[in-house]
Structure formats: C-alpha cells, structure tokens
Symmetry: C2
Subunit: 416 residues, 2 copies
C-alpha cells in the first residue's frame, strides 16, 4: 500500500504521526497546498521515528482534480486519504479515481439546503455527489470508503456492531458527541476546524426516520443534556447536520437516525452570532479594497487548533446511543463510546485529542484494507464492513491500543 495523504492540517498531521507506528504500508506522502506545512509534519514524524524512510512531503493543489490525479501517478499511490476541509472533497474524490487510486475521506461532499423549505426538507444531501457514483466504482472495481474519521467513521462502525451483535430491533441510532476540553490562555479556542464546525452547525440538521425518510430541522434544534462517560459529565447537545444520518440508513435497519453535538451553550451562542452578522458566509466581501471570505477571517482570528495540544486539557468523547430491543427481546439502551484524554494523545503521538481521535480511524481502516480483512468496491460507508475486526484492531495492545467502551444504560420507559 502506497498512501497519498492530502492535507497536513491538524488531522493530516495526526494521521502521519499515528501511521508511523504501524508497518502495513510501504510509503506515505504528506501533501499540502503549503509545502512547508507538509514538510513540518514529515520532520515531526522523523524526529519520533528517525529510521522510518517511508514518509515524504509534496505540494498538491486539492482544488484541482487534475493536480490530485497527477500526484497519484507521480507517487504511484494506491490509496488517497483526504484530510482537508470538505470544500475539496469532490476534486480529491475525482482526482483519486482519475489517477487510479482507491479513496478514503473523513467528511463527505457538501449539502445545499432546499431552496424553498430549508428547515423541513433536504436539498442536496451530504455525500449525494459521491454516492451517485457508486455503480461506476463497482464497475471499475474501485473503492471509495467515505466518512471514515471518528464521526462519521467510528460512530458508523459502532452502529454496524450494535445492529449485528447487540439488538434485534433498533429504534434509534443516535450519535452523541461531547467533551470537557479547556485551553489554557484562551477564553475561546475551538479544538477543531472552525470552517467545518460552522458548516456543519449552521446548515439545517438532517434526521432520518424510516417512514419519513430524510428531513431537516432548524439549526440547534431539540437541545438535550446527555451525560457523557469518562468523567466528562452532562453537556447540552443539539441536532447538527452530519454524515452518519445519511450513511447509516443505507446499510443498517433502524427506525430513526440522529446526530447531536455537545456544543455547549457558549459555543452555540457564538455560532448564532456569527450567523446573524453574516460572518459564516464563504462568498468574499470587499473590505477597504481587498476581497476576503468572512469565514476565513473568523478562522484567521482564532488559534490554529493543531497548535493547541500543549495548552489543552480534558477529554473528548465520540459515541453512539442505541435504543431498541436486545437480542433477548427486552428493551435495551447502550452507549458505545471512545473517550480520548488529551494528555494521552499528546504523550503517544504529540497530537491534540480532537484531531488525533479523528485521524486514528482512517489509519485503522487502511490497515484492514492493506491486510485484506476489509475489502469491497463502490462508494461505501464504514457500516458496509464488518465492525468486529475494526474494533479489535483499535483496542488491541498489539494494534492501536485505544479502547472503546460499551455502557449499558437504563432502557427508556415505554411510551404510554
């Protein structure tokens, strides 16, 4: 396996650091629009693994499918891992195929709201542009494994595991994500790309119900407090547009699929304010003679999330709340989760926990693809593959040594 990693931001950098601990691939090219950033990542890997000759840096323009295809050919890449923000999904997706490589990403092609009824009906859905090419991929014998970060990604693996091994009937697959992170020296310092966070939080959130199909709500709808494990505790969660809601129902049987993000009230107020002022917009505005995208200015005002690891403390939790009927016919409710302490991810790979948790899963998936344990053709989500080998490799001390948990919760009281 020869990997072309595109993007050396927080997640891309962590991908390289994690992969360096494993032997399943021959080479990994770290590429970025900014070559210096790619070189910094390769230098960081070399510092920790001085004898590892598998890593090189290159410059790639992710906005051009031709440039991506050319980079695939230049490096003889067998797999492209997309680790840039979702604006660039389609050129990288198309470029990988043109160049002749399989493809993985952690966020899918962007949605566009319904032109008249944005808060009740879906328009173009997350991933629609990619999933439309499924048959062509099958015909070519090529694989695109889409949404294989932590969420989407590990959350989808959990869903497949719950459906296969824990439940006879699933009422709801509900992703619930929360954290108790603090960054010393900053009042406000998001741990993940603000560009992506704005995109997912301000788009109309999407919900799936078996009888209704996909539909949308107002942003920040239906707040609920979820009690996260690992000492994180209760966090206010709201509906957010996320890939899992689009992926899970395509392969798994469930009455309802939701995604709720534990943004916390402060972060919600900031996002609402940015939206009110129009600072979430991506179209450039003229400011005293220069043109800038307001959302890029927001990102420029905040610290780079990839640089916050040393100042950060606390834990982040990704997980799936599954409600339904157990294999024994009794009501069951479980929370499958993966909790990362920032102190651990910094110690193991020198990466902050939010980007590290995202980066871990595509590396696990690449290893399963390299060994042939996972195989498939088409445009597939993580729930299209057997969950058990993934969860085993993730947790095993000989694998990635990053345990996941199953918390048995009180079943919900029956509806009256």
């Amino acid at each position: 396996m020869r990997i072309l990693l595109i993007g050396a931001g927080g997640v891309g950098d962590a991908v390289a650091r994690i992969a360096a601990r494993r032997s399943f691939f021959e080479s990994l090219v770290v590429s970025d629009y900014d070559l210096a950033r790619a070189e910094r990542t390769v230098a960081a890997v070399r510092e920790r693994h001085p004898d590892d000759e598998r890593f090189r840096a290159d410059r790639v323009d992710a906005s051009s499918a031709e440039a991506v295809a050319e980079a695939v050919r230049r490096h003889g890449a067998t797999h492209v891992l997309n680790a840039v923000d979702p604006r660039f999904v389609m050129p990288i997706f198309d470029g990988a195929r043109q160049g002749g490589a399989d493809y993985l990403d952690m966020a899918m092609s962007l949605s566009r709201p319904h032109p008249e009824r944005p808060f009740t009906e879906t328009g173009v859905k997350l991933g629609d542009e990619q999933l439309a090419q499924h048959d062509a991929y099958v015909a070519e014998g090529r694989l695109a494994l889409v949404g294989i970060g932590v969420e989407p990604g590990l959350s989808d693996v959990f869903a497949r595991y719950a459906v296969d091994h824990l439940f006879s009937h699933v009422t709801e697959l509900g992703v619930r994500d929360g954290a108790n992170l603090a960054v010393a020296g900053y009042d406000f310092a998001p741990g993940f790309s603000i560009w992506t966070t704005i995109e997912e939080c301000l788009n109309p959130p999407v919900v799936y119900e078996r009888d209704r199909g996909w539909y949308t709500l107002e942003p920040f709808s239906e707040p609920e407090v979820f009690d996260f494990p690992g000492g994180i505790g209760p966090v206010e969660c709201v509906h957010v547009e996320h890939e899992e809601v689009l992926l899970m129902p395509r392969w798994l049987d469930a009455d309802k699929v939701t995604f709720k993000y534990g943004l916390g009230n402060e972060f919600i107020e900031v996002l609402k304010a940015l939206h009110k002022v129009g600072l979430d917009k991506t179209e450039p505005v003229s400011v005293k003679g220069v043109k800038v995208s307001p959302r890029d200015v927001v990102a420029a005002c905040l610290p780079d999330p990839a640089t916050l690891g040393d100042a950060m403390s606390g834990k982040t939790c990704a997980g799936l709340l599954v409600t339904g009927t157990g294999k024994d016919g009794q009501p069951r409710r479980v929370y499958l989760s993966h909790v990362v302490d920032n102190a651990d991810s910094m110690r193991i790979d020198g990466a902050q926990c939010v980007v590290w948790q995202t980066a871990l899963n595509p590396v696990v998936a690449l290893e399963l693809l390299a060994s042939g344990v996972w195989k498939g053709t088409g445009v597939l989500g993580p729930e299209a593959f057997d969950a058990v080998p993934f969860l085993d490799l993730l947790a095993s001390p000989d694998g990635y040594h990053s345990p996941w948990e199953l918390n048995e919760l009180e079943p919900e009281p029956s509806a009256p």
Copy 2:
C-alpha cells in the same frame, strides 16, 4: 459661518439634510475620503432644495491633520464639524486648529484601558487628549465644542438643564438610551456604525462617583431594565463607556454619573461572541495572503446603517434619568428624553432616525454659535453652555420642531 463637514456617512449625510432647512450659515462643504459619497449627499440636498447654492462636495483625508488644515484654508471655513468615526478625532481636531477654525464633534478622542487593572481603573480616558488642550484653546480665543451629538450632546444639555432648573441636589445623572427599531428583511442590522458600537461596548465602561472619581467595570455590567417612553417600553440596559460620564462631572455637580445603553440581550450576545472570537480587533490579520482588520470585516458583512431608513420602523429614545432632591427639597426623579420615530425623520429629511437624531444637535449648536447665543473659548462640553436656548430652538416650530419630554417618575424609595 462657513462650515466644513468632514464625513458623509450616515450622520454626516443627515447633518447636511437638516442644515439645508436653516439659513444661519453661508456655506457648507461636505467632505469625505470618498468624494462620490460627499457628492451623493450634496445631490440629495439639491434634490430637496433645488435653489440652495450653499452646498459643495470635496475630498478630504481625515487621517491627516495637514490635509484637514489645508481644506479649512481652501474653503475659508470658520467651523469644522467632525462626523467620521472616532479613530479620526485627533487629526481633525488638530487640523481645524492649524487651519484656523473652531471645531465641533459628536464623539471624543479614544480611551486606552488601564494596562494592569482595566476593569477597575481608568487608563487614558475618552476625551483626555482633547481636554488637555483646553488652556491653549482659551489662550488662542478658539472654541472646540466636543461631544455635541445626541449622546453625548443632547444628554449633556439635559443634564445642565436639570442641575440649573429642576434639582437642588443631584444623586445621579444617568443617561439611558433605548429603541424598538426593526429593519425589514434583516435578522440583524444595527442602526449605527458597528465600528463605533464595538468600540464603546467592549471597552471597560466608565462610571463617575464624587468620592471615588472615575473608575471602570467589566463590559455589560449591572444590567437593568428601563421602561422607555413613546411606546418603546422596557429594554435591558448595561453600562457602556461613553463621553457623558467624562464630561458632566467637569461642569456639573452630581454624586454619580452613569451611561447605560439599551442594547438588548441579543445584541449583547453578538458583541460578546465577536469579542470571544477576536473579531472586534482592529489590528490586521493575514487571511490567505491579504491583510484585513477583523472589525472592518464585521462592518463589511453588515448593511450600511445609512441605507436602512426605508426598511426601518420604530422609535429611538435618547434621555437622561436624573435622581436627587428637587428645588422644593423633596426627593425627585425625572427622565428627560427625545424620542424620534423613524417614519418622521424619513419624511422630514429622508434620513433614518438613529443618524438623524445624532445629526440634529450639532446643527442646533452651530446655529446658536452663529447667532452668538452660545459663545465660549476652550475645549468645552455641551453642559458648559446654557441649556434653555438649545432646548427651545430644538423644540420650537420656528426652529427644529423636534420636541423633547420631561417625564416625572416615582422617586426612589429611600435607602433603609
């Protein structure tokens, strides 16, 4: 009187429209960094007053005292009226004096927080740089009438009136400003310069007490709901840094002076969010190869307040809550106020009510200076002059026909 108006934004435009109804001056040059904007204002005046030959447009760089002095000499101006944002107070103030003209403004030189204790002690206060030149102005026989908009401005005139005619002892002079404006088609559209609003709302608010002098608080401190007249009703008000608190105690006897702004909870949340993200900053940040000031980007994302008049509805109220002992020795509490309905300011002068209400007062003051009813030398606030002729000219049908109100309120219960 030959007036050089600097700034053809919302307030400057309204100044020209209001002044065109009056005959006390020989000429008024509307100047701006952007000549087209100045020409637009002159054209708007000509449209309403086709025979009025007193208005001309010119280009002036308000950031250069030399350029301002040169414009004063070029036009033989006797008075400079500064109607640009407060970043440019000092070059215009200095340029007027160098050119040989008297000076008026509606906002004073900027403050700088105390370097160690910003939320308890003042650093450089609003207007300090201007007031430091008082003796030099007196020696030259020159006048700078500072803070003669609506707030500061009319609020200071109200304070002088209350001290002279309504109270024997003043416990508190408390400016209270609120509105019930809505702008059709916009979720969020501030009626006044967002640059200035951010500046005044995010700086540490200043309070004056007789025994303590000036001191500062945290932004948005001590929220209180004030019931505004004219159908506006209750609005949440918080402490804001404002010139009145610096001006009133220099000429008037009061135990305490405060300024509270009826921002409303939504606007407060937006300002807090902008501050958290760092979008209130004025120092340029690098955004994909270009440098921009984040606060300028915020302004560029919002509609130009001067253009909102047609879509705006509601009223704005500027006023002063005075607490103390009446001339009869009894506890007294009055609210002196000036309420403007946007429909009226649009009908009379084609200007939206917030900028119109600000612009009205320097024109009244210029007329009193032209007639010699007001005269003085030095750097003086509005409370240094007799309030009665100002309030009469403001309200009189032969004057500006814009009435003010005195509301007698229940005196506060005595302290236990």
